[in-house]
């Protein structure tokens, strides 16, 4: 294992210290239990957004705490859901009296821990709503699986619903908006290499030099198909096709196209994927009206990409364009 770390057990704590030192204007960091909140929390009268998940996906979620996005983020161990005590304390710290929205990615652990935290917060008199993100078309959605994973769409949901909360929308309106985003967005990812969890020390899966994994999640869990390496154009087609067909996105639709790096893939390659994705979408009469390109929801050092499409309307466009000031995403301010 080659990593810029000290003790593998200290990775998350030391990262949090770094965040605390770098962004005192944006966030406050708490330890044991670990969570990050907006520096000006609680914002009175505003719906508060709390998310969280395993670490290793930076900048998500801690890098999205700040004005116009999340009020709090709960980092778990690398690739491991945080625990209810973190979520409860974060929820209490950011509740400004207008209720708290939990944004939960659909993984068995995250769902169970957030469910327990929401129950505890309600027992303490805080109004809590939870919304699930499950946008990964690589997973068959049936009663026979844990359901689709929450992946790239999470970033877009946190930005859009964060803007709505900032605008003063109610808890119910924010929750409905989040569910609408989830209903209108789809993602699919692929990996060129595996990744290594620091405290495990070995790659999460073995991927031979000449092969790639299609339908990868964000935790180094293997995907659905393993095939020989293909060109960027071919890979882009393999990702766009199932995403477009699943919703389906149709001729005349306006979309936000999000091309994400899994951590190890550089921007130069993301732009090649973006170019082909726009061409494929235009050929289908789908218009890209907004975009996001870069490493926003990563899987440690994994090389690979994911593509997310979100069907847009005027409301979503305005919310997307609204000011945001976080460590990981910043515009309009």
């Amino acid at each position: 294992m080659k990593k810029l770390i000290n003790n593998p057990e200290d990775v998350v704590k030391e990262e949090l210290k770094g965040i605390e030192l770098a962004h005192p204007d944006l966030v406050k960091v708490f330890y044991d239990p670990d969570f990050i909140i907006r520096a000006d929390s609680p914002v009175q009268g505003k719906v508060a957004l709390v998310s969280g998940g395993g670490s290793g996906h930076e900048p998500m979620h801690g890098g999205f705490v700040g004005k116009g996005m999340l009020d709090a983020a709960c980092p778990g161990a690398v690739f491991t859901s945080p625990t209810p005590d973190q979520m409860l304390e974060a929820t209490k710290a950011v509740d400004g009296g207008a209720g708290v929205l939990h944004i939960v990615k659909n993984y068995t652990g995250d769902v169970m821990n957030f469910e327990m935290a929401a129950d505890m917060a309600r027992d303490e008199g805080i109004e809590v709503e939870s919304v699930l993100v499950d946008d990964d078309v690589a997973v068959e959605d049936s009663t026979w699986t844990a359901g689709r994973r929450g992946v790239g769409l999470t970033v877009l949901m946190e930005k859009i619903v964060g803007a709505a909360a900032e605008e003063g929308r109610s808890l119910k309106e924010c929750a409905d908006l989040a569910r609408k985003v989830n209903a209108q967005g789809r993602s699919m990812g692929m990996a060129l290499t595996s990744c290594t969890v620091p405290h495990v020390g070995k790659p999460s899966f073995d991927l031979p030099e000449d092969e790639m994994e299609i339908g990868i999640g964000i935790h180094g869990e293997p995907g659905r198909h393993r095939i020989k390496l293909e060109s960027a154009d071919k890979v882009t087609e393999m990702l766009i096709q199932p995403v477009v067909e699943d919703l389906p996105f149709k001729n005349g639709d306006e979309v936000l196209l999000f091309v994400n790096s899994m951590g190890g893939t550089p921007l130069i390659e993301l732009y090649i994927v973006y170019k082909k994705a726009v061409e494929l979408l235009e050929a289908k009469g789908i218009k890209v009206v907004r975009h996001l390109i870069g490493p926003y929801i990563t899987s440690l050092e994994m090389a690979g990409t994911s593509i997310t499409l979100l069907k847009m309307d005027d409301d979503l466009k305005n919310l997307w364009d609204a000011p945001v000031k976080t460590a990981g995403m910043r515009w309009g301010i």
Binding site: A77, H219, E221
Partner: protein
């Protein structure tokens, strides 16, 4: 003979050592069909349990097991955190304020734990989860008690059944948890949760064999 508070404490300590010895094996199983963290998470949880155990050593069995459960809830994370936490909290609640328990108390505790886990995880038998070790362990324990087996024999039968249940997860296709994302590719691998659960039941059988 009864199972004493000291027996229960020894079981928890023994299992913490079992996890310490087997965490790499559990993580390796999880690497094949999950996200390669089960052993690491359980080890973090049971190290914390050991640290907190001295503070509750003189409490009743129910309080000790609930304390173990609360520690796991805040230290393990993932799905294993809430699930193992539920196991210990439900067992502790069922046994209650006793400093000694009969094997029938343990059977009731194991049943409550199993029901709690099934409710939280919403898994069914043969979904390739920890329940596939727990259900056989529970029914073997109950039949051994009905047939008048000694504590040691009944606990061993329970552990043997958990072992068979664990092995029976190998050909199964996972329907819950991260392994379910693999679809058919999850078949041919032993479930890590069923494995850590078998080790828990086995540890009880070994620690309590003379009770």
């Amino acid at each position: 003979m009864a199972i004493t508070r000291d027996d229960v404490l020894n079981w928890v300590r023994d299992y913490a050592q079992v996890i310490e010895d087997n965490h790499e094996m559990l993580t390796d199983l999880d690497r094949e069909i999950g996200d390669a963290d089960h052993g690491a998470n359980m080890r973090r949880g049971f190290r914390a349990v050991l640290e907190k155990l001295p503070a509750v050593e003189d409490k009743d069995i129910g309080a000790i097991l609930k304390n173990v459960g609360m520690t796991l809830l805040s230290k393990v994370g993932g799905a294993a955190g809430p699930l193992y936490s539920t196991l210990f909290i439900k067992a502790g609640t069922t046994i209650g304020a006793k400093t000694e328990m009969e094997l029938t108390d343990w059977a009731k505790a194991l049943e409550a734990a199993t029901v709690g886990i099934a409710n939280l995880g919403k898994a069914l038998p043969n979904d390739k989860t920890m329940l596939d070790s727990l259900y056989p362990a529970l029914s073997a324990l109950n039949s051994a008690i009905e047939n008048g087996a000694s504590n040691g024999e009944a606990l061993q039968k329970s552990a043997d059944a958990a072992y068979e249940g664990m092995l029976a997860t190998i050909p199964l296709v996972a329907h819950k948890g991260r392994a379910s994302y693999l679809g058919e590719r999850s078949a041919g691998h032993q479930d890590p949760g069923a494995t850590s659960t078998y080790l828990l039941i086995k540890s009880a059988a070994e620690t309590w064999s003379d009770s």
